[in-house]
Amino acid sequence: MHHNTIDVEHVSFTYPDGHVALQDVSLHLSSSEKVALIGPNGAGKSTLLLHLNGLLKPQTGRIRVCGLDVCDDNLGVVRAAVGLVFQDPNDQLFCPTVFEDVAFGPLYQGLPEADIRARVTAALEAVGMEGFAARSSYRLSLGEKKRIALATVLSLRPQILVLDEPSAGLDPRARRSLIQLLTTVHPTLLIASHDLELVLEVCDRVILLDEGRIVVDGDPRETMGDVALMEVHGLERPHSLVYHAEPHQGRHSEVATEREI
């Protein structure tokens, strides 16, 4: 089994209502790469993420995770390898207590009880939520829920971590600690996000998706620093890539990426 790689080859997907979500998408993620998936709403980002875990099946094309075809025969192995964190933590945290939620994945991996408990402890420590094991999930704040949602997949010890809008709804402090956490995790990382500042800090590659097609696959600063490209696809250049030549005149007349500066 090849470790930590994703291969998507000519994948297309149309929802039953006729909405075309993905059109001939191909990409390759190498081991331990940190990649961002950006694009406007409805671009197909979440749909692509659901394919990586086998929750949606490509109508055309092929997906390989860690060298394995994502098909019914390999679903168990693929789902153990790909940790998928959903956008809304209320979808991710379906068990009555935090402990049960974090233990859910390892339990279905068939691990012995001692290992499950050790993994739960380690995952909660990794997200800074020690002491929350006995708490009810619904009594947590959104920031806490997001961290626990991440712990629920870290306990799987995934080779690939896939996150859908991880910073949505977080306050600045919770967002900052999430960024710190993401910069320290080791698996291959794929993040779908509108938080382009987070993308700049965490990822070393960005894929711009629009209308189900890959538009650009390249360096985050170059891609997101291109004002025309970003505007055409309903996005904005991140503020940290804007050079304010005339900061007191209230306009961004002269702009350049940090690299150009």
């Binding site: 875990n53 998928l84 959903f86 068990c95 009555p96 279905y108 619904y138 799987l156």
Partner: protein
């Protein structure tokens, strides 16, 4: 009202809060059974059970207002036994104009049932106020309640609050757009009913959508349709002793009621 108020559990560190959930659930069920078995007229037994229940409530450090308000919910159900006041033969107490005569024995029967009902609810409330519902489910699962049933109950409990919050958001959105310039104008009753119907339908659709996303999240972490749970650690010797002692006391009370007043 916050949705958390729906949960009867009151966090705390009283003796009862710290007690193992298996001991609490076992003794609470035993108490309710002993109360139900007490025959009419077994007042000494009921008084002992009442003293026991009140001692437990004090140990749980629950607020009297909370306990009284929640247990008052039994009062409407006590109305169901009110006809016994007139149907049980015995010494007349008073008569109503329609020829109905209340009897002393009938009143004792009503009081007996009402007290039993209140005692049972009091103990159940104390259990749920000092034990998270999830812990009670774990106990029932450990005692052989089908795993699928406990999984459904756990999911229902978990998402009850999410659904209640969704409903609150919908109602808030309606209220925010329900301003009217002319006092008293707010749409006809039929129109309001249609809006409410639409909101209920919306809630159902949101619930269905949520259910699909939850299933995806479960499948993503390996769920294969078979509910799996970790085994519980064995009871400590102290908890075992407490469970046995409590069960013996409750059994003796029930037997005393049956033997002397049955």
């Amino acid at each position: 009202m916050t949705t958390a108020a729906l949960d009867p559990y009151r966090p705390g560190d009283s003796l009862l809060h710290q007690l193992d959930a298996r001991v609490k659930v076992g003794l609470a069920l035993g108490f309710i059974l002993a109360t139900a078995l007490a025959p009419p007229g077994a007042w000494p037994v009921l008084m002992l059970l009442l003293a026991l229940a009140l001692a437990v409530v004090i140990l749980a450090e629950l607020r009297a207002s909370f306990v009284l308000a929640r247990t008052a919910l039994t009062l409407p159900f006590a109305l169901a036994v009110l006809p016994s006041l007139f149907t049980v033969a015995g010494t007349p107490l008073f008569s109503l104009p329609w020829g109905w005569t209340a009897t002393w024995e009938g009143m004792l029967r009503v009081a007996n049932v009402a007290i039993k009902m209140w005692l049972s609810v009091l103990v159940a409330l104390t259990l749920t106020a000092t034990t998270p519902f999830t812990a009670i489910l774990v106990v029932l699962r450990g005692w052989g309640l089908p795993k699928l049933l406990t999984a459904i109950l756990a999911l229902t409990w978990r998402y009850l609050f999410v659904l209640a919050e969704e409903a609150q958001r919908l109602m808030r959105a309606r209220a925010a757009r329900s301003g009217h310039i002319v006092q008293g104008r707010g749409g006809s009753l039929a129109w309001r009913a249609r809006v409410t119907g639409g909101m209920v339908g919306n809630l159902l659709l949101r619930g269905t959508d949520r259910a699909e996303r939850i299933y995806s999240a479960m499948a993503a972490r390996g769920y294969d349709g078979e509910p799996r749970v970790l085994a519980q650690p064995p009871l400590t010797v102290r908890n075992r002793a407490l469970l046995v002692l409590g069960s013996i006391c409750l059994t003796l009370l029930a037997l005393a009621g049956i033997l002397f007043w049955g």
